[in-house]
């Protein structure tokens, strides 16, 4: 089976709706098929990977730590649209420190988050074989 480029598009904030959690679950299932997987975070989707999520007070599971496991499944291309962050008064510092280990470079730790402009993200989206929207 040939490898295809899969893109998961995340546009919803976590907790208010179930989209963010559902997307993450599909990403983890899809990771077993050894495809070329990317995620992107557009609009309110950027809130999914915000630092310091503490859900004790709302009685829901905090699923944000799961994003840290994606690197172990070779899911290490997380595109974040710069314009979406800026509109929300956020910077890269407000996002979780998501990394992966490159086994070709003696397991060097590398950042998974790629901050891109709208124009850059448009090109990445254009290159995909399969786009899954959440």
């Amino acid at each position: 089976m040939s490898t295809k480029k899969f893109m998961y598009v995340n546009r919803k904030a976590p907790y208010g709706t179930v989209y963010a959690l559902e997307s993450l679950e599909v990403v983890l299932i899809g990771a077993a098929f050894e495809q070329d997987v990317s995620l992107c975070f557009i609009g309110d989707g950027v809130y999914q990977i915000a630092k310091n999520q503490k859900t004790d007070g709302i009685g829901m599971k905090n699923f944000s730590p799961t994003f840290k496991a994606l690197g172990d499944y070779e899911v290490n291309k997380l595109y974040v649209e710069k314009e979406s962050l800026e509109a929300r008064g956020l910077t890269l510092d407000d996002l979780m420190d998501l990394t992966w280990e490159d086994e070709d470079e003696d397991y060097a730790e590398k950042p998974s988050i790629r901050l891109v402009s709208s124009a850059e993200l448009a090109e990445v989206l254009d290159e995909q074989d399969v786009v899954l929207s959440f």
Binding site: A13, P14, Y15, G16, Q53, S64, R88, G89
Partner: protein, 102 residues
């Protein structure tokens, strides 16, 4: 007569907050809950609209919903009061009616 308005949608995704602000009368209260809490943050594209509303209405935000989303109370717009669940109950008691902007 005064009304407590609750807004549970992100201002970036829906017009719930802008409609609420446009239609809330003087002396009413606006409580931001669930994804509505993003409207309470300083430095966003919607901060000025919310600051404008504060001349007319008291604005509150639910602390547990901020914390769940990793939004720091330190970065809430000055003058917006952070309340907990019992504060939410108090607000409902202090107002005659409650309108939910879903």
């Amino acid at each position: 007569m005064s009304t407590l308005h609750t807004v549970n949608k992100s201002p970036f995704e829906r017009d719930s907050l802008s409609s609420c602000i446009r239609l809330a009368t003087k002396g009413s209260a606006i409580l931001l809950i669930e994804d509505g809490v993003f409207g309470a943050m300083a430095g966003t594209d919607h901060s000025d609209m919310v600051k404008g509303a504060m001349a007319n209405a008291s604005v509150y935000v639910l602390g547990p919903d901020l914390a769940a989303r990793g939004m720091s109370e330190d970065r809430v717009i000055d003058g917006i009061q952070v309340v907990d669940y019992s504060g939410f109950v108090d607000l409902t008691k202090q107002h005659n009616t409650c309108q939910s902007w879903l």
